[in-house]
Each structure stands twice: as C-alpha cells, then as structure tokens.
C-alpha cells in the first residue's frame, strides 16, 4: 500500500512536471494565431464604417482595402460621393492620403482621421497586432484569453492594448486601446462571427465607443473578405490614384 502511494505521488509529480510546460501559453504565438484567424496575411475586403451620434443620426462610408504581408496596406473610399476616390496607403508606419481634387498624395499620421468620428487612420488601415505589439502577459479569465499588449515602438497609434479572445475560436471579443498611462482611448467590441468562405470565419462587425466621444459610437461591418495576392507595386504612391482598379 505504501509502495502504491509512493508510485501515485511520483506519477502525479511527473504528470505535473510534464503538464506544466504544455499549459504555459506562448502569448506571441497566440497573438499570431488571432491575427491569422481575423484575416489572411494578404487579402482584399470591403468595409462599411458607420458613425452614430447620440441622437441616432448616422454617417456611412464604404471602403475597399487590400493588404499584403506584414506592413503593406492600401484602400479607397467608394462612398459617399464627397469621399469617393480618396485613397490611403500604409507602408509600415508611413501613411499617405490621396484626394482626387488635390491630385497628389500627402503624408498623414496614424492618429489623424481621414473621416470624422471615433475611428482614426490606424483603425482603418490596421496591420497585424503581432506586427506592432509585444505580448507582455496572458491571463485566462473564464472562457477567454486576456492578452496585455505593449507597442513595439513609439510610432504605434496606441501604446497599450488589452485584448480579450474567445478560447475556442481564438478570435477577439473585445479590445481596449490605452495610452502609456493606461488611460482608455477606445473600446472595440467584436460581434457577429460569420463564415466569409475560403476558411475565413471571423467577426463581421466591430463596434467602437470612446470615453473621449461620450454617446457616440462607430461601427465597422466587413464583407467579401478574400485571400488574394497583389504585386508590391500596388502599394506605392504612384499607384494610389488607381486602387479602385483592383476591384
């Protein structure tokens, strides 16, 4: 009996030692997985951005965007008429805006907003989270992961991010964007998981509110997300007036 107890203790200890490393979560790997579940590395997609004011009044924008690799992103507004043809380009932390009337691209900053409301350029032209953030720690409250992210460089729009992700689907459910002093800038709620085809199953709606814009909210609806590869030349200043031709 004594022998059995010893064997049981040794077995339990061995199991704990073996199970220990298996349960430790690799935060970076998890974040990369979340990124891939959200979008293919190279894709095209359509989005509708809706700003909702406290009185219920809405402004809607339709945006087509393409992405290649870790840091190349380009997009063009399709509606409303006042914004049609405005295109944006992001290469890493470089961002440009092309306004058809002005006729030449101008450099813009990630914190600026090409449209009014809660979304800024970094939200509209967002890269992979793993490309811009390091994972500081991962917690597991209930059925979710909670990832604490810290910007890799000072040039990233939000210094800190708290990302809640569904454990089974490894998809974000909520993201809080914070300043360096942990002041909340905005909260993104990921809703309506949808099958877009081609193995892309992800939230089709992101709702955003911000303590800086009390009572206002912004909604981003996704459509026609497709894995697609583009030539590097598409992501250049010279190509900016032609982004619509990729559709």
């Amino acid at each position: 009996m004594e022998m059995l107890r010893i064997w049981m203790s040794v077995f339990t200890l061995a199991m704990l030692i073996l199970a220990g490393p298996a349960q430790a979560i690799d935060g970076t790997q998890l974040l990369k997985q979340i990124d891939r579940n959200l979008n293919p590395e190279s894709y095209e997609m359509y989005r509708k951005l809706i700003n909702v004011e406290p009185n219920g009044r809405k402004m809607e924008y339709t945006f087509f965007s393409v992405k290649k690799g870790l840091d190349k992103l380009a997009g063009v507004f399709l509606a409303p008429a006042s914004e049609k043809g405005r295109s944006t380009l992001r290469l890493g932390e470089n961002m440009w805006l092309y306004i058809p009337n002005v006729g030449k691209p101008i450099r813009i900053t990630s914190l600026q907003s090409v449209i009014g409301g809660v979304f800024n350029n970094a939200d509209i032209l967002s890269l992979d989270y793993a490309a811009e953030y390091n994972v500081e720690k991962v917690e597991e409250p209930g059925n979710e992961y909670l990832l604490y992210l810290k910007a890799k460089t000072k040039t990233v729009a939000y210094d800190r991010i708290k990302l809640w992700a569904d454990k089974n689907r490894k998809l974000p459910t909520k993201i809080e964007c914070l300043t360096e002093a942990s002041m909340l800038i905005k909260t993104l709620y990921f809703k309506e998981v949808k099958d877009f085809g081609g193995g892309i199953v992800r939230p089709s709606v992101i709702e955003t509110d911000s303590p800086l814009y009390k009572g206002y909210k912004s909604i981003m609806i996704f459509a026609k997300i497709k894995q697609k590869d583009f030539k590097d030349e598409v992501f250049t200043l010279t190509f900016m007036p032609n982004i619509d031709s990729l559709r």
């Binding site: 359509y46 509708k48 809706i50 700003n51 909702v52 004011e53 402004m59 809607e60 339709t62 087509f64 399709l78 509606a79 409303p80 008429a81 006042s82 049609k84 290469l91 890493g92 932390e93 470089n94 961002m95 306004i99 058809p100 009337n101 002005v102 006729g103 030449k104 101008i106 450099r107 900053t109 990630s110 914190l111 600026q112 907003s113 009014g116 409301g117 000072k154 040039t155 309506e192 709606v205 800086l212 814009y213 009390k214 206002y216 909604i219 609806i221 459509a223 026609k224 583009f230 030539k231 590097d232 030349e233 598409v234 250049t236 200043l237 010279t238 190509f239 032609n242 031709s245 559709r247």
Partner: protein, 432 residues
C-alpha cells in the same frame, strides 16, 4: 388573454429589436458592386462680400472709372462634373468645370475641360495617360516651386482642382526590399502649339518633362525637370518624411535657368531682367494630442519681385490714377495693367513668404466640425492675410464653409495695396 398579450408584446419587442439590429448593421452588397462607368461631381454656391479699400493702388487700377461704394457682392456658382468609363486595361476619364458669376460687372460664365484623358494600364507597374491631365508635382501644401507642368495653385485654397494640360505621360513603378522601397519614373511629352496648351509658353515647341520618385529610408524623394523651349529649362527636387507619428517635414527646391521678368519703374519704364532663379520651400505638418494640426511653410520665391520693385509698381499706378483724375487719360493705368496679369498680379509675387494654418478637428466633440485659421505673411514688407474659417461636413455629401479674410499691411505693401480690406465668403458644396 394575458398570456397572448405578453407573447404579443415579447414578439413585438423581439421583432423591433431585430429590425433595429438589422437596420443598424445593414451592408447591402449591391453598394459595392463595381460598374464600368461612373458619373459624379459637385455643385457649389459661393456668395462673397468684399470690403473695398479705396486708397489701395490695386483698387485704383481696377475701379479708377467707377464707384461701387464701400462693399461689393459677388455670387458664384460652380458645377464640376466627372465621368469615367472602364473596359479592360483602358479607362476614359473626363472632368469639366463650369463657373457662373454675377458681380458688379454683370453675368459671366465659363466652362472648361479640366481633365480628359485615356489611361492604359497593362500591369500594376506600368501605365500610360494621353490627353488633358493635371500633373501636380511637389510636396508643399500652399506653394509648389517644383510644379513645373501645372498651373499655379491658389494658396488661399490649395485643395481646389486645377485645370490640366494636354500631355502624354507614362508611369513605371518598381518595388524593392531594403532601404530603397520604391522607385518610379514619370516621363511626360508636353506639346505647346497655338491650339494645344497655347497659354503655357512659347508655341510650336515639343517639351519634355520627367519625374523620378524614390521611397528611400522611409523618405519620399522626387527629382524633376522640364526642357523644350516653351519655358526656360528647370530642374528641381522635393522630399517628405515623418519624423514621428505626429510630425512630418517636407521641402522643395527648384532651379529655373534664364528666368525672365518684366519690371516697371515708378516712371513707367518697362525693362526685362534675365536671371537664374532659385526657389525653395521648407515645411512641417504637426498634429498635437488635442487633434490640432499645424501646417507651417517658409517659401522663398526666386522669381519674385523685391520690395523696391513692388513699391515702384504701386507708385506708378498711383501716378497713373492721379493723371486720370486730373486729365481723364488712362494710358498710364493701361500700361500698369499690361504688366499686372501673370506678373505683378500673380499670387505671391514677392520673394519671402510664411504660411501658417492651424486647424482643430472636432473641438468640444462636435463631430465633422473643423475650425481653422490661416495666415500668409509677406516677410519682405510685413503685410499679411489672415483667414479664420468654419467647416462643417456633418450632413452626407454636403459641405458648408464660412470663411473671412482680413488683409493687413501698410501703404506700398502687397496686402496693403490689394483692392479690398476684407472678404467674407460662404461656400455650400453638394457632392453627388
């Protein structure tokens, strides 16, 4: 009965909430269906009130034989239409501009084709354009000393579309990995004949221009040149770079060989000067944490007049006006007018300017509302224009802008001698 009522209410709430939900997140895919053609544009109404400065030289030149009172009104209407048609690698694009104006001179209207070209895009790295197009070169916001192949933009409204020229151009783009990320070349053939681009310069010349672009160490760098005889040879370069996420710097340098300038002295003697002109611009764009954007540019206009030359011009106008008052003869004023157009009368005719624009995005969380203040200062004579404005874009496709401009300067200064002291302008623009 109660159960039925409760069920009915519950169903109604469920239905209403699902309807609200569906309404809120509606994205009709027909909205993103691509059509081979597109028609759009905007309609604009722009009434302006000018407060006249009867002592100013340019008032005397313009209104010497009429009295319009202390203020004049002007009513402007504009229709800008654009359409495109795409098939395969080809795209046809046309933008027309129609201006209708009612002023103290009566009705005036003008319609012109701003752009109208055929573009061919055999691949994402190669494209061609044939026809009338606007090729705006340079990184400056208000001024572009290297915009060799476009019409000068209005620093008071730098985002207005400009009329193009008839050219044939190509774009070749190549991307790389490493510090040099992008290279592109834009060669341009620019014919100038009596009925083709006749207002550009000397006619019966075939001009060539080119621009090279590099994205090198995250810096945009362009080199450009124009040759061919319609205008004297010129070369230039520009750059733009983000120093931090909220600070961008940019600059331009242009060299014009054998620039000609018509100068009038205070006695009305006209002489022509020939010199090599060096123009440059240095600017920053800075965004604060409170969403205030500052655009600051210093512009050195190498083709500009000195303070003495400008004072001589104003003196001669005053002399011509005095002669008109005493004799009724306007020959001297006509002579002054002949050196005004495109010369003394162009935007920013002097040498050193400072441009500052401060705009505040959505203050007090008023969405789509942007107040701004813009000032252009002539550093040579210390005169300036200062323009506060309010912009509201909160109604889909409607843009409302109220802008006032005050011109401040002493006698003999650029802004002090403008025909008006102030102007007040409302711009209502509807896009469709």
């Amino acid at each position: 009965m109660n159960k039925i009522f409760t069920f009915y209410i519950a169903w109604l709430i469920l239905f209403a909430s699902s309807f609200a939900f569906a309404e809120e997140y509606k994205f009709d895919l027909s909205e993103i269906e691509k059509k081979p053609y597109h028609i759009g544009g905007y309609l604009e109404l722009r009434p302006i009130l000018f407060g006249l400065d009867k002592d100013a030289s340019l008032y005397k030149l313009k209104f010497f034989n009429r009295d319009e009172g202390k203020t004049i009104e002007e009513y402007n209407g504009k229709l800008q239409l654009e359409g495109s048609l795409e098939k395969g690698i080809a795209r046809l694009f046309v933008r027309t501009n129609s201006d209708l104006k009612y002023s103290y001179l009566g009705w005036d209207h003008k319609t012109s084709i701003y752009e109208g070209y055929l573009s061919l895009k055999p691949s994402s790295s190669l494209s061609f354009k044939f026809g009338k197009q606007t090729l705006l070169w340079g990184k400056g916001y208000a001024f572009n000393p290297v915009a060799f192949v476009s019409r000068p933009k209005d620093p008071d409204d730098p985002e207005l579309a400009l009329e193009g020229y008839i050219t044939a151009s190509a774009d070749y783009i190549k991307s790389f990995n490493g510090p040099l990320k992008t290279f592109s070349i834009t060669p341009v053939i620019f014919p100038v004949y009596e009925h083709i681009n006749g207002d550009f310069g000397k006619i019966n010349r075939l001009n060539f221009a080119a621009k090279l672009y590099f994205l090198f160490y995250d810096t945009d760098i362009d080199f450009m040149a124009l040759t061919g005889g319609s205008r004297t040879n010129r070369v230039g370069m520009d750059f733009s770079k983000n120093i931090t996420t909220n600070l961008e710097i940019h600059g331009e340098f242009g060299f014009i060989n054998n620039q000609k300038s018509k100068i009038i002295d205070s006695q009305g003697r006209i002489s022509e000067a020939k010199f090599d002109a060096r123009s440059y611009l240095l600017g920053i764009r800075y965004l604060t944490k409170l969403d205030t954007t500052y655009i600051l540019e210093y512009y050195r206009n190498g083709t500009g007049f000195s303070r003495v030359e400008m004072e001589d011009y104003f003196s001669f106008i005053n002399k011509g006006y005095d002669t008109f008052l005493s004799t009724g003869e306007n020959n001297l004023l006509n002579k002054a007018a002949s050196v005004t157009q495109g010369n003394y009368g162009r935007s920013n005719p002097m040498k050193d300017y400072l441009y500052l624009r401060i705009s505040q995005k959505e203050p007090f969380t008023i969405l789509y509302f942007t107040p701004a203040i813009t000032s252009i200062m002539n550093l040579n004579d210390k005169s300036l224009s200062i323009s506060p404005e309010l912009l509201y874009t909160g109604i889909t496709n409607l843009e409302l802008r109220l802008k006032a401009t005050a011109l401040v300067g002493q006698n003999g200064s650029e802004y002090g001698e403008k025909p008006n002291d102030y102007r007040l302008e409302l711009r209502v623009r509807y896009y469709f």
